[in-house]
Subunit: 245 residues, 2 copies
DNA sequence: CCCGCGATTGACCAATTGGTCAAATTTGTG
DNA sequence: CACAAATTTGACCAATTGGTCAATCGCGGG
């Protein structure tokens, strides 16, 4: 039943024509953004665009976190954002592009807390601050953490480059700071890069595997008190593990 | 060659009849399994069946780990197992059932290492042994860990019940042992349940987020030496964190 | 007041997906 | 050997999915 009467509709606009049409949209988006920052006041138009994009990204983050890239549907994201599906394509072109926009936003937040780790700081204070900030992120933005975790879990096909270009150099820099502290005898000798892996794991587990933790603890969700308790546990366990009393 | 003399077979078995037809298969499967254990020797048939199922589960584990439940396709699993797609349905009925079979297998391995944590044991030795076993699992069966992680990440829709019925009681029992050790002054005071969360996180991160770790370390994969180094790091950090020198 | 352009939308594909079926083929057994 | 049950397989289907498109809407500038 393969052959049908479809042999009539041939070349029309297919393939690369789409991409060509889509790029202009992206172009004008960038233009609009520039205009809103540079010119007198953000016009209603560009503001609406930025808002719309932010709303879509927020909705997409929730849906991707809940179902993974493969399990999420543009339909579901559109519904979560309260928009018809073609709007998503209007703003982001494709599912993958939208996904990357979500990941990009996450990366920035993910890297930020490491700022506290600098050679001039006091080791104990710097690490405690870093861990607390990571814990705070896990509790306040669990969806972002889950999208990130999901991507890594599946081999990070969309951001291998980013890991190499941004995460890796950052970690090496921060690990050097810790090595310096160790050399000065200010903390126990340990593998500084692995220390980061452990801190990430110990903190993000509260976002990524929240169900497991809540189930084991017998809570419905982690209230502020439970969050404080978890934070205190992670901080003291790791600080003691680092020989920082 | 497609349409043929099929117009003869009409209303026959359709709709709910399917499920009915599939159940018998499952029934006979169980029967066969019993026969193979109870009777003289495993017959060629039942062994073949068990082998086939094991092969399918192994293939499914890889594919689910790499793409999540939503991203994995029965086609891909069939290809990975070297079988035509209908065979998967013959053995497991549906994608979800196959997924649950994979999860079930994982759970058993997941729970096993905790056996070392008993009141009679020496805290330091028991915990070290537990952590090392968890690390070993991460390195030898990363796909299983990822399937499990993926499921938790997305809210564990398929195994909430299992978490409540099996994981939770187990953890409570083991946490009680640790609390006892703490009460006896044999290790630093800390929250025993959260200690488990941290150990799980710190160990499984090497399976779940392997890409991230390899990228940061600049390795292609973690060779035996790197594995030993990671294990040593986690063991000593956590033991020191527990006040076990 | 109207014009132009970006934003919105419903209707619509082609491709893929999970799942089915009936016809073969293999296997164990009386 | 013959028969029935178990297994394998290619062809097929309905539903869903990512993505498209032409028609429309609405607002700000002339």
């Amino acid at each position: 039943m393969a052959v049908r009467s479809k042999e009539i509709a041939p070349a029309r606009a297919t393939g690369r024509a789409r991409a060509a049409r889509k790029q202009p949209a992206a172009g004008s988006r960038r233009r609009a953004a520039l205009a809103s920052t540079g010119r007198k006041g953000r016009t209603r138009k560009s503001r609406s665009r930025a808002d719309q994009q932010a709303a879509i990204i927020a909705a997409a983050e929730r849906v991707f976190a809940g179902a993974g890239f493969g399990g999420a549907t543009m339909q579901a994201i559109a519904a979560a954002a309260g928009l018809p599906k073609p709007n998503l394509h209007y703003y982001f072109g494709s599912k993958k592009a939208l996904y990357q926009a979500v990941l990009e936003r996450t990366l920035r937040e993910w890297l930020a807390p490491a700022d506290t780790i600098v050679a001039e700081a006091e080791p104990r204070e710097a690490l405690e601050c870093y861990i607390r900030e990571k814990m705070r992120q896990s509790f306040t933005r669990p969806y972002a953490s889950r999208v990130w975790a999901n991507e890594l879990l599946h081999g990070a096909p969309e951001l291998r480059g980013t890991l190499v270009r941004q995460l890796r150099p950052l970690v090496r820099r921060k690990a050097a700071v810790i090595d310096q502290w160790i050399a000065q005898g200010r903390m126990a000798p340990l593998d500084s890069m692995h220390l980061f892996f452990t801190i990430w794991a110990a903190t993000q587990t509260y976002a990524d595997f929240e169900v497991q933790i809540c189930t084991v603890l017998g809570h419905d969700a982690l209230d502020l008190e439970a969050q404080a308790r978890a934070t205190q546990h992670v901080v003291s366990l790791i600080l003691r593990g680092c020989g920082l009393v």
